[in-house]
């Protein structure tokens, strides 16, 4: 199974990757730190599962690159792109936020979850609330992954 971890928080990404390695010994892992690097990997890596952060910069941040903007709904943009491309990996949103965006676009995680379930039913497999301190997210993520693997046979 090929797993793409899309996450700009380095520590969170390491933790998710370590969890995947412990859970899926034969998984092939790739990671992306921004929307655009994630989009690129969708084409080149062709993942089966994407563990997707919701908020991240447009481009990988470096000394020479400020990332352009930190996008509160980058994960949704990513899903929109999958729809555009017609590719269908299983996508699980792993987020530490409980609410997103501001003004007219503001929504809570349950609202976002409902929107993603409706708009991207083909690929979206649910959301997992991440915490750097607790490990409940791991069991929740394991459940979702199990449901994906059992569904895929």
């Amino acid at each position: 199974m090929k797993v793409l971890v899309v996450e700009d928080d380095d520590v969170k990404r390491y933790q998710i990757e370590a969890f995947i390695r412990s859970r899926l010994a034969h998984a092939v892992l790739e990671s992306a730190r921004s929307l655009q690097s994630a989009l690129e990997l969708v084409g080149t890596f062709n993942p089966d599962v994407v563990l997707l952060d919701m908020s991240m910069p447009a481009f990988d941040v470096s000394a020479a690159e400020d990332g352009f903007e930190h996008l509160p709904f980058a994960g949704r943009e990513f899903l929109e792109h999958l729809d555009l491309q017609g590719v269908s990996p299983c996508v699980i949103v792993v987020t530490s936020f409980r609410s997103f965006g501001k003004g007219a676009d503001a929504m809570t995680l349950p609202q976002l979850d409902a929107q993603l379930s409706t708009d991207y039913a083909d690929v979206y497999r649910g959301s997992v609330s991440y915490s750097s301190i607790g490990d409940e997210w791991q069991s929740h993520l394991a459940q979702v992954l199990d449901s994906i693997t059992s569904h895929n046979g």
């Binding site: 928080d9 520590v11 929307l35 655009q36 000394a63 352009f68 792109h81 915490s131 301190i133």
Partner: protein
Amino acid sequence: MNHRAASRQIHDLIRGSKKKVRDVGKARATWLPPAIYPDVIAWILERDDLRRAIFPSLLPPSAKDLYRYTPLRETTLSRELRWVTALLSTQAAKLQVFMEVRDRVTVAIRQSDYGAADAALIEAESALGTSFWLAKLRLAVLQVGQSLEAQKHYVNALKRQVARRTGATAYILHYVSVRNEPSVTPQRFASQMRTQIANIPVGDDLRAFLRHHITGPELSRERAADVLRHSASASLVDGYEAFIHTARLIIATNSDDPVGPVLSASIAELSGVVSDRRLIALVARLDGDFPSEASELDAEDAWLRGDDESAEAEARAAMYAGDATLPNVWIAAATSRAPSADAQPNNAATFDKLAIDIAAVQQVTGDVTQAATNIARAALNFSGVDLFDLPHALTARALSPLPGTPPRPLPPTAEAELAAHEQALDYALCDKPVSSSLTIDWSPEEARAGYAHALLSRLGDGVRRDFVRAILDPADASSLSRIRPELQALLLADGAMRQAQFDAALKRARPLLETAPYYRSRAVRLVAYSLLRLNALAECVDVVASEYLRNENARHILPIRELADKLDRYVRRELAGRLSLAIVFDLYSRFVDGAYDQYRRRSYQDVLIATGVTRPSELIELSHQASSLEFQYFLRQLCVPEVMYVSPAIRGSRELQEERIRIVEYLLKFDESHRQEYEDEILARTRLLVLQARRLEAEQSRINVDLDGITREAETKYGEAYDRYCTFQSAGAQPERLQAVNEALSQVLAGDLAPLRALAVPADEVRDLLASLVRDLRDEFVDNNRFGLDGRLSTGIRHGTLANELRGPLLAAKLITQKDEATQQYRENTAWTLNASENSPGAIAVQDALAAFASDFDGLISEMLTDWVQVKREGGGRGLIDLRLTADQLRIIESLVSRGAPFDEFASIVFNGFCLPSLGEGLATIRSRIETTAKPRATVLLGRLLSAVEAQHTVEFVSLSNAIREAITTVQRAFDRVSSWFVLSKDVSSDPLPVEDGLQIALEIAQRVYPGFRASISLGSAGREQMDGSFLPGLLVIFLTAFENAVKKAGFSEPPEVSVRADKQEENLRFTLTNPIHESVDRIAAAERLEGILAAVRNAEYLTSVRREGRTGLHKIVKIIALDFLGEPDLRAEFVNDREFILEFSLPLRKGRVERE
């Protein structure tokens, strides 16, 4: 209690009361029967002492007495109406005087005779005293009739009369004066004032009163009693006008209001003693009748028949003859051509100006936004006379995507908008009798039939009668024949719309798209809205896009919001790739809100895919589309970085900017109408790219060591010792040994150190001397006051820079505070606990967690600075830059130094063969330590803070939790930026750099590390001077240090604004920086400290002082000026005007001088 007993009781109560206002207020609000209010009020007014106590300011002699006394206690609207009616009824004679003045003022303003209006108001003041009504009108009259100075002079005179200038009277007068200023936009003013008033710590009743007088009539039923009560306590005139307002409000908001009978009786009572046409109209409406009157309206007849020439002539003749009523103005507008709101002559009559504005609104053309603003301004500032409230209400309805009265159901936002239109129209119409058939078209749905039948009863046979009948029933063909064809079609289309016959509405409206703008604008709205309601969404999308491109003002009347709401996933798929779809979503983002930004970006991508390109600049090849307005719009508005970042073909911010520049360069060739805009954009984006490149270059040039400079200074110190070494070396040289060394060296260069170790080199004086020389040069490399590494690490990294960079995101997120300069304690972080219950356990726990976090985070920074970013040498010490000389390194150096080599060659071998490689390894170690230790530790600290906050399990801190989550990645990126500094400096470009660009980079960095930092930079022509580009790193250090000084030492909790000025003096620029100093700063002590620093500067102590972190930044500035710019450190720093700090220094523009002696 019978009335007689009640009268006795209230008389006794008042006579014996020490708090008469309180007791009367309580009685009238509770037990006193309203039926005896008139007797009680009359009884009070007959007794001077009681009148002075309870009704002290009926006719306030000056602003001092206006709304000076506490209003009576609040009561129900019904009781308030009866109380105010009873009071007003006792003042009939005065109110009659007011009516006469009011009529004179109204006529004078209508005719633009502001001198007469002002004279009438002055006369009224002497007869009736002052009032808010009078003061507000005088301010407006003086502003329009004379000047801003005249109205300011008047308001200042009023404010001087007000004893306590902080009271409600002064507040109202001040902001009414502000709203009259020509630069104030009424809509924005009203919005800002509502927010401001909502935050004033007073009761909701007083807030409503303030809003009513400042932002316009309070059209909320909820606070009607309060507005009436407060106004009645201000003055007789204000009480009367508030009474009329209340009546209009109740009619406009709900005709079945339970207070209706009371209001009706009150108006009837007043109309018996005061001759005011408004009272007659209002009582009729309350009784279910619709007041009307007959009048000759020749212009209306002509216009309805289609005779525009006669209509215009008749309308203008009537206006100039004194009949500047709205129907005439409306017809003058409807028959005019090419209105231009900004071309109004200053001396044009009020109705001329109004006609021009109304024409722009009717036709949705010209500067319609300015026209709407003009009308709104007149309605607000002249709200004391009823000339502009109806035009204002009609403007709102005309500039709406809702066609008249669309059938229900409507989406909530449309329903609310329609209700607001109807209410404003009814409010404007209900106190006037109708005489014009146009009024029927303008009236709200609920009142339309009533007004129509009332008017029909007065109209004889004629086209006006036909028009009214056609409004009631457009299907009645007999009523249409005499009406002009365009109006016939509009009436039929409107009628079909009201009946939800959208196909018919569409069919009737479409031909009108080819007619004059007055009819066309209404047809556009009907067509777009009919398509929307028919769910013909594809066509609606095309119509909205094309109509907008034809006339940008059409955005006011196109159903952009409702259409976008209907474009669900399936419709979007069906329309994917259409330019018009992208345009509709772009219009939504620009004019509604950001809720569909995602679909805007998706529709952009769909267009690219449909066209077969991966990036928009490839569209440029499709030159056959260049003339298409849709295509140009797509390039101009959608191919912008905020949208294009979703294109996978574009790989970074720089590419985004470059792509946009290519597109704008292309547009420049085809779209002449936006030429200036494009040229400015190209310039701005190109400059941005240059600045980014320069900033990056400067930020990665922090660790630079001037080897030439060190070599020169070292030669002076160690040249003699090196000569000794050369002599010894020459005397003791052995060819065999040299050969062995050379062989070993070749293996070493291949990566194998073993042969060197095998070489048995006896300890001798030559090697000891060499080792000593190498260490001396190494120390010079590190410690040289002018060019050494440690000074660079100090000024470029340790002295506040690293800490500021890492703390910046936390300051921005309000997770950490600055330390107080005097106490060195963290300022209390109340950003998240201000609204929490004071001293609640949750608030205390959060405060503690924030304090612990700040301390731990700064501890981490401190550890980095003291244990990592230091140079370690023999003899201990901390630091990850290990420059201890090893035996292997010494052997390599020994082998590389050829016999008799000059000193600079020797120094080069030491620096390039030992110091720089060791420094490079040390920097790599620091980078690694930041990645593997500092960044994870900072993340853990934030995680710990988050868990402490979430442990409170309260919604109060949800925003704080989100701020912490966001900070996790922003802090990680700050560590990445800091990590990127730890590289050996690259050469900095010496290409000329405009001084203003250099300061712009400094300002951007300062704003990153000091959130909220502001600087007003006014360099004038000096800003265009160019300096040697290699000065940039030094320039940044100087200005960032100066800005830091201002932020940290000025004593404010938020960064103060620093003003920066520059003057050219020969080949130098003299900079002057000024910032305010908070009163809490002990200026005398600070001045003493400053004098000590300046004395040290004069003694050139700066050469050593900066390496000791914690000293003032002024030393650092002087050092950079002296060493990097090779300039004279002629620094001036002093406190001026008691509470300002000024810093002056000069910088050379070019490297003109060679080394200073």
